[in-house]
Chain length 344, copies 4
C-alpha cells in the first residue's frame, strides 16, 4: 500500500468538520453567506484578528487571490510577487486574465525582500509602464519558509512608504502559525496587511478560505466581486460552519501542529540519514535533496513530488504533511528511510 | 417555526451524499479531479449522455456558465440569451467581465424563441457590432418553464444554420428531467447542445455542477480555463464522489421527483384556493399571484420570495421546493393556505 | 459623378488644419502629448469649458469611450445607455471587452430619459446584479436629436441623486453646439457632466477627440489608461495642433455651422417634396422616409445610408453633411430631388 | 538651439506623405479602411511580402501589438518575449490588460534565443500554468540589434516544433531593412512569421503601422478585433494613402537609409572619440557609454535619452535618428563631440 506525501489535500475534512456538517445538514438557512453560521464564524475571526476586519469566505485559494487582487487594483496597476509566488507560477495566469501584470522579482528562500520591492518600484517610473500598487507574499511561502515579524514589519513599512497595499496568501497558514520558529500572529497579519487569507482547504476544512480585509479600498462592494467571479457559494453556510468549527476551539492550531509535528519527523529522518535540504523549512512542506537511486526505491512505497534536479544524480523532492497525516505514518517513513540508506 | 420555500439550496446534501463523503473521507487521492472517483463519475455521465462527451466538475453555476462561455467565444463574439436568462440578470455581469456581450432578447414564458434568435443574428451584420456565436438557454428556465424536445430541436437547427453554438444551463435539471410534461432526456441534451450543465447544488448534492461538452471547440484545453478562473477544486474528488452517487442509482431522478411532487402539491393548493399563476410551471418553482393581504398572513409562517407586483393589490411570489422538501411540509402548507383563504 | 452624403468622414481635414500640420511639420517636439502644442490646446479648451478640467487627446471616438468608461468603473459596475447608444450598438462590444455591462434602456427619440435611468437603477438592487455607476448619453444623439439644457440638468440631478457619473459623447458636438435649437454650451457640459468628449474627426479635424474630465475619480492616472489601451499617439502634437486650430478662432463652430446649414437645405428639400422624417433632427444627420422607387433613383447620383424599412414600400435613409459639404452640393441635391419627385 | 536625438517621432511626416495627404484631402471616400487607397496599399504590400498575406492598418504600435496578440491567443495562453521586449516593459501592461501573461525571458543583446524559448516551453508543463503559444520579437530590437536570417529561421523552426506562433514587431523596420548588416527581407518576414508589423510612425509616415498576417488563426475576423479595441480609423484612407506612398517608390527604404546613415555618423563619432558602446547597433538607435561630465556638456546642445548608469561615473545614453535627421545635423554633432572631448 502506497502512502502519499504528495500534498496536503489528499484526504477530506477533519472529523470535527465532518460532524459539524452532518449535524447541521437538514437545517434550513438563507443562502450566499448571509446565514447565522457565516455570521458567527465572521465574528469569531474578527475577534482573533481585528474588530475592524471584513471577513468573507470563498471555496478556493486561486479564487481568493484573484478576487482580492482584481478588487484592489485599477486596470493599469500591478502586483509585485516573488518569482516563486503562487500567483506567478501556479494559477494559470489568473491575475493576468483579470487584467493585471504580476511584476515578478527574485525571491530569497522563497521570500520577497524589501530591496526587491524597492527595485520594482524604482523601475516603474511613468505611464508607459504598469504602476505597482500591491505586494503579494505567502505565509508560509511556496517552499515552506516563513517571514519573521521583523521582516513582515519592514515589508509593511516599505509598502506604506510607496503607497503599496500588502496582501498575504495564507493557504497553509495553520502550519505557519504553529511552526516552532514562528513569531507572527493572526493579529500581526491584521495589523500589517491590507488583506490576507486564512486557508482552510489545507488546514483541516473540507474546502474554503477566509478572506480578511483591513483596507477600505478592498472592502468596498467586495461581495459584488465574489459573485461576479463565480465564487459566491449558494450554500454559503458550508463555509461558515467549517470556519466556526476551525476557530471555536483552536482546531485550526491543532491541525497546524499535527502537520508540523509529522513534517519535523520527516525532516529529521532525512537529516539523520545524511541528506541535505533544499531549504530549511519549519512548516509542513519539506524539500530534501536525494540521490536518484534512493528516489527510485522510495517511489515504490510513497507518493511525493519531484521538485527540481539539483545535479545529474540528485533531485530535490517535496514531502507534504497535513492535519490528516498520522504520526505513525511519519515514523514508519523515518524507519523505512533508515533501512533503505543503511541497505546501500 | 417558519418553513422556507425561499429556494432550493436551504439545506445541505442528500443523506446518501453525506454518507458517501463520510465513507471516503480518510482515503487518500490525488487532487484536482484526476482521482478515481471523478473518473468513475465522468464515465457514468458519459454513459447517460454520450460516449463522445467531455465531462468536468466545478463547484457552482455561475462558474460553470462563465467558464463555458469564455472558453467558447473569441473576444468579439457574443452570447444570445432571453432577457430573463440567469447570465443576463443574476450573475453580476460575469460574462461581460469575461469580455463578452450578452445579447438579450425578449423571452416567451422565460424561453428564447427561434424567431428572436434569428432577429438577433439579423441585427448583427458586420464588424462594427459584436458577432453572436452562442445561444444560452436554461432547462428549466428561470421561471420554471420547459423547452419541449420539438422546441429544442428547432433551436438546435437554427443554431446550426447560423453557425451558433448552443449551451444549456441545467442548474435545476433534475426537476426538468422528472417533470410530468418533460420529453427531453439527458441524451437529447447531448445530441442537440454543444455543452450543457447538470446541476448538483439544487438537485441533491452538497455543491457542484457537471459540465458536459460535446463541441471540440469548447473541449480543447478546458482544464486550463477551469484553473484560470479559480474553479479547479484541490479536493476534486468531492465533486466526483457526489456525482457518482447522484447517478449510480438514479438518485438524481429521485431528487427531481421529490422536488416536483411537492411543487405540484403547492401549485394545486394555490389553484384550488382560486389563485392564478404567473406562469404554468411543471417544475420545482411555482409563481402564484396572491393578494397582498394573503401574502402578509403567509409571511408569518413561511419564507418565500417576492417576484413582482402584478397590480396594486397583487404580487407574484415564488415558492421553491427541492429534494429536501418533505411531502408533509408541502401538504401542511396546502392545509394552511386553505385555512387562510377560507378564513377570509 | 456620385456625391456622398454617407457620412461626415468622407473627406480629409479642414484646409486650416492641413495648413497648420504642414507649417509645423519639420519642427521637433517631445512625444506623447507632452509638447507645447498640446499644452496650448489644453489651455484653450480649459478656458472654453472649465479651469478645473483635465484635457486629453486621443485619435478616435471608440477609443475615447472605452478609456473613459473603463477608467471610471470598478469591475462590477455598469454604464446605462439608450439602446440606440453608440457604445451599445456600434463599438463591437468594446465596453464589454473592457469588462463592463452596458445596461441598455429604451430611448425616446434617441435620448435617454430620467425615468429610464431611475428604472435601471431600481432594477439593480444587490450584488447578484451589476451596479449601475455611470450614464452615457450622446450630444447630438445617434439620430441627430439634442438634449436641451433643461433635460441635461434633470439627468445631471438624477445622476447626483443616485451616485452615478455622467459621461457625454460629443463625437458630433460641433453640429450640436451650432444647431438652431441648441441651448447647451461647452461650459454647461463641463458643469453637468463628469466627463465629455469634443469630437474632432467629424468636425473639421483630420482625426482626434478631446476628452474633458471634471471628476477626480476619472482624472487620476488617466494617462496610464490612454497608454495601456494603445491610444497614446507617439506624435501627440498632431492632436494638439489640430485642436488648437479648431478652437483658437472658432473654426470648430464654423465647421458645425456649415454642416447644419447644408443639413437644413436637405431637410427642407425632403419636407418640401412631401416626405416625412423619421425624427426631427436639427443637426447634421437627416433621416427622411422615402418610397423605395425614389430611393432607387437617388442611388444613381448619391451615396447615403439605408437606416431601416418603415413599411414594405418605404425606407428611412440617412443623409449626413459636414464642414466639407459645399452649400451648392446640398442645393444641387435639393434641385435634383424636386426634379425626381415632380417627374413621378 | 537644442537639437533632439531623443527619438524618431520628433517631427511630422516625410514631405512626400504630406503632399499625398494634401493632394487627396478633398476627395470623398468610404470609411474604415474600405477605400481604394487602402486597397492599393494592401496590394502593394502583398506584392512585397506574400500574395497570401492579409494586410490591415492601425494608427500605433501598442495598438498593433495588443490586437495581434489578443486575437491570436485563447484566454489561458501566453506570449514569450525577451525581458527587454516592448510589450513587456513599455506598454503599460496592455497585453495583460487583454488577459494574457507575458512570459519574459532574459535576452542576449536584446534578442530572444532559441534556448530561452525552449526553456520557457519546458517550464510550462500543465494546466496549472499558462500555455505559451506565441513568441514575440522585435526587428530591430529595442536596443537596435538585428536578428540575422539564420537566427530568424532557427526561431521559426523552434516555434513550429512547439506549436508556437511567431510575431515580429517592426516598429523601426525601415532601419532594419536598410542596415548594412541586415540579410532579412520583407519576404523573409512573411515566410517565417505568422504576423508582423511594418512600422510607419518612426519610418516616414505621419502615423500608422501595417499589420501583415500570414496565419489563418489570426486572419479570421481580424477587423472585429480592430474595431473592438478602438483602432479602426474612421478616415481609414489616411493610412492607405501613407503606406501606398511609402511603398510605391521605395520611400520606405529611403527613410530607413537616411536614419541609418546619420546613426552611423554618430556611432563613428563616439567610437572615434574613444567612447564605448553598450551594444553594437547597426540601426538608428545608438547607445554610447559616456562619462557624466561629457553628458552634462552635451545636454546643453542636444536632447537624448538616459538609458542606464553603467558605473558611478558613466552612463549609457540613447541617440536616435530618423528619416528626418539631416545629414549635417549628425555631422555637426560629430564635430561638436570632437571639440568637447579634445577640450577635456
Amino acid at each position: 500500500m502506497i502512502y502519499s506525501f504528495k500534498n496536503d489535500y489528499s484526504e477530506g475534512a477533519h472529523p470535527n468538520i465532518m460532524k459539524a456538517l452532518a449535524d447541521t445538514n437538514t437545517l434550513q438557512t438563507v443562502g450566499y453567506g448571509e446565514d447565522e453560521y457565516c455570521e458567527k464564524a465572521r465574528e469569531l475571526i474578527r475577534k482573533k484578528t481585528s474588530e475592524k476586519a471584513d471577513v468573507h469566505f470563498v471555496v478556493g485559494g486561486t479564487q481568493a487571490n484573484l478576487i482580492v487582487i482584481t478588487t484592489a487594483l485599477r486596470p493599469y496597476q500591478a502586483v509585485i510577487s516573488a518569482d516563486s509566488g503562487h500567483i506567478n507560477t501556479h494559477e494559470t495566469g489568473a491575475i493576468e486574465a483579470g487584467g493585471h501584470k504580476v511584476v515578478a522579482m527574485p525571491g530569497e528562500n522563497g521570500k520577497l525582500t524589501v530591496q526587491n520591492i524597492e527595485k520594482a518600484v524604482a523601475e516603474h517610473t511613468d505611464e508607459h509602464m504598469v504602476q505597482p500598487k500591491m505586494v503579494y507574499i505567502s505565509q508560509p511561502t511556496e517552499i515552506g519558509t516563513l517571514y519573521s515579524k521583523e521582516e513582515l514589519i519592514k515589508i509593511h513599512e516599505c509598502c506604506k512608504k510607496h503607497g503599496l497595499m500588502l496582501y498575504i496568501d495564507g493557504a497553509r497558514l495553520a502550519s505557519a502559525l504553529t511552526s516552532d520558529i514562528n513569531d507572527v500572529s493572526l493579529c500581526d497579519l491584521a495589523e500589517y496587511a491590507d488583506a490576507f487569507t486564512i486557508g482552510g482547504t489545507k488546514c483541516g476544512a473540507m474546502f474554503g478560505e477566509a478572506i480578511v480585509i483591513m483596507s477600505d479600498r478592498i472592502k468596498e462592494d467586495f461581495r459584488y466581486m465574489i459573485k461576479q467571479r463565480g465564487a459566491m457559494l449558494a450554500k454559503g453556510r458550508l463555509l461558515g460552519i467549517q470556519f466556526y468549527e476551525l476557530f471555536k476551539d483552536d482546531l485550526y492550531y491543532e491541525a497546524g501542529m499535527q502537520s508540523n509535528k509529522t513534517a519535523m519527523i520527516i525532516k529529521s529522518a532525512f537529516l539523520n540519514c545524511g541528506f541535505k535540504l533544499l531549504t530549511d523549512s519549519h512548516t509542513n512542506q519539506q524539500f530534501p535533496i536525494i540521490d536518484n537511486k534512493t528516489m527510485k526505491v522510495l517511489e515504490k512505497d510513497y507518493l511525493f513530488e519531484t521538485w527540481c534536479a539539483t545535479d545529474d544524480e540528485h533531485t530535490a523532492v517535496r514531502f507534504v504533511t497535513s492535519w490528516a497525516t498520522p504520526t505513525n505514518a511519519a515514523e514508519n517513513f523515518a524507519d523505512r528511510l533508515k533501512e533503505i540508506t543503511k541497505g546501500e
